[in-house]
């Protein structure tokens, strides 16, 4: 029972901690890269805690408990007793089923998302080959259109292969409409390109995909929904930083010019535009994260990620100290 309680308590506490220290915290806007890692660590650890909570319930019913007891040289009966709950086998099965379904759901949602993305990208590339004009000097594909638009299409050479390619970015294309090219000065265009290339280098599409998959897996509840929204916004800021200090001002004006030149959808705002926040943020220089802070962050994340595993094994450890016949100690 201690595993169940410990894991659920951890899930709740980690979620609360994220809301308190990660959500809309000042430091996340100064160090977006680190913040993205932090949100990922929180999401993974909370998800792992919830899933492990279900699986540990199942443990007394499985042969796995015998193997586990052997590994730790504990008493099997005692080990099973530690993982049992008053509700018995019924709850154990329910927990196990829930955990399995959540894991399966995540795998399905994430894979489906990636496949859909791949199909869309392939079809887009085919269309770009028809209507786009490649500018080899700038490394972009230009399309003749009156609506200003710039976007990047990840994974040109195929996802995994691109990782090992010697290209400046992770294999992908940056697409610019003619209207966008006309609106921007050459310096601004360079800034925008650097931003998009930073997206491709960091593979933000994967990070955002995974976060959204987790959000969908847990039905848009809790810390996962927050993580997805935050990671999306932070990715833009990290890409802004990725363009370099010298292009910061150009990037800000490019952002202003492109957004004001485009056609809006609807009249009601979603409560503060990301673009405006980015422009204001670009007025400040890039804030490098001190080594000490980075180390602290890495440490905190390691703790977060290890905690669910340790908590799941806690009853096994407790079982070690107790004898089979209950002679050794009290509990």
């Amino acid at each position: 029972m201690s595993a169940l309680v410990g894991l659920l308590a951890f899930a709740v506490l980690a979620s609360l901690a994220a809301r308190r220290w990660l959500l809309a915290a000042g430091w996340t806007r100064r160090a977006p890269g680190l913040a993205i890692w932090a949100w990922q660590a929180v999401s993974i650890s909370v998800a792992a805690a919830l899933v492990l909570a279900g699986f540990t319930l199942l443990l007394p019913l499985l042969h796995l408990s015998v193997d586990l007891a052997e590994v730790f040289r504990a008493c099997v009966a005692e080990l099973r007793h530690q993982y049992e709950t008053p509700a018995g086998a019924g709850m154990a099965l329910a927990g196990g089923v829930a955990a399995t379904m959540l894991t399966a759901r995540f795998c399905y949602v994430f894979t489906a998302m990636q496949l859909r993305a791949r199909t869309t990208r392939r079809s887009m590339r085919a269309q770009l080959r028809l209507v786009g004009v490649r500018d080899l000097q700038l490394g972009i594909v230009e399309i003749d259109h009156a609506e200003p638009m710039v976007y990047c299409l990840p994974g040109g050479a195929g996802g995994l292969r691109a990782r090992f390619s010697r290209r400046r970015h992770g294999g992908g294309d940056v697409v610019v409409s003619s209207a966008a090219r006309e609106t921007l000065s050459p310096a601004e265009l360079q800034g925008v390109l650097a931003h998009e290339q930073a997206h491709l280098r960091s593979r933000h599409d994967l990070a955002i995909s995974a976060a959204r998959a987790l959000e969908q897996t847990f039905f848009g509840r809790g810390v996962f929904a927050l993580a997805a929204a935050e990671i999306t916004e932070l990715a833009e800021m990290q890409a802004d930083d990725g363009a370099g200090q010298s292009r910061r001002r150009d990037l800000a004006t490019a952002l202003l010019r492109l957004s004001t030149a485009s056609t809006p959808i609807g009249a009601l705002g979603a409560g503060g535009s990301t673009a405006a926040a980015r422009v204001r943020r670009l007025a400040r220089p890039i804030a490098p994260v001190p080594r000490a802070r980075q180390a602290m962050g890495a440490g905190a994340m390691a703790v977060l990620l290890l905690a669910p595993v340790l908590l799941a094994l806690l009853p096994t450890v407790l079982a070690l100290f107790l004898d089979c016949c209950g002679v050794g100690g009290s509990y």
Binding site: L128, H204, D205, G266
Partner: protein
């Protein structure tokens, strides 16, 4: 496709070959046009012994289709692509226009200014 769009009239393989900058075998051009036809990008009718080809949609239409996909993709929360700036409401647009005015009013400002 470029040549077909530019011509604005139905073209046979022979005509396309004439328009091309580079040297290409007749059979190669014929194969390419045949593939385009199979993909539904061009339609063809027989004139005498040869086919003449016409694009099924204009270049503008194709481009507009592509742009439509990009805009729709963003709304579907898919991650096929990442846009530099998302579409926004007119409220957000107004906020940005204000920032633009402020920005243009102070061109010499250093990046480090608060």
């Amino acid at each position: 496709m470029q040549r077909l769009w530019e011509a604005g009239r139905p073209m046979a393989v022979r005509d396309v070959l004439e328009e091309l900058d580079r040297e290409l075998a007749y059979t190669t051009a014929m194969t390419v046009l045949d593939n385009l036809h199979r993909k539904g990008l061009v339609s063809r009718i027989k004139r005498g012994r040869a086919y003449v080809y016409t694009p099924t949609k204009s270049r503008e239409e194709r481009t507009a289709e592509l742009m439509g996909e990009v805009l729709a993709g963003a709304g579907d929360r898919g991650t096929a692509l990442l846009r530099f700036v998302e579409q926004m409401s007119s409220d957000e647009l107004a906020e940005l226009r204000e920032l633009l005015v402020e920005n243009e009013a102070s061109p010499g400002r250093e990046d480090g200014a608060p």
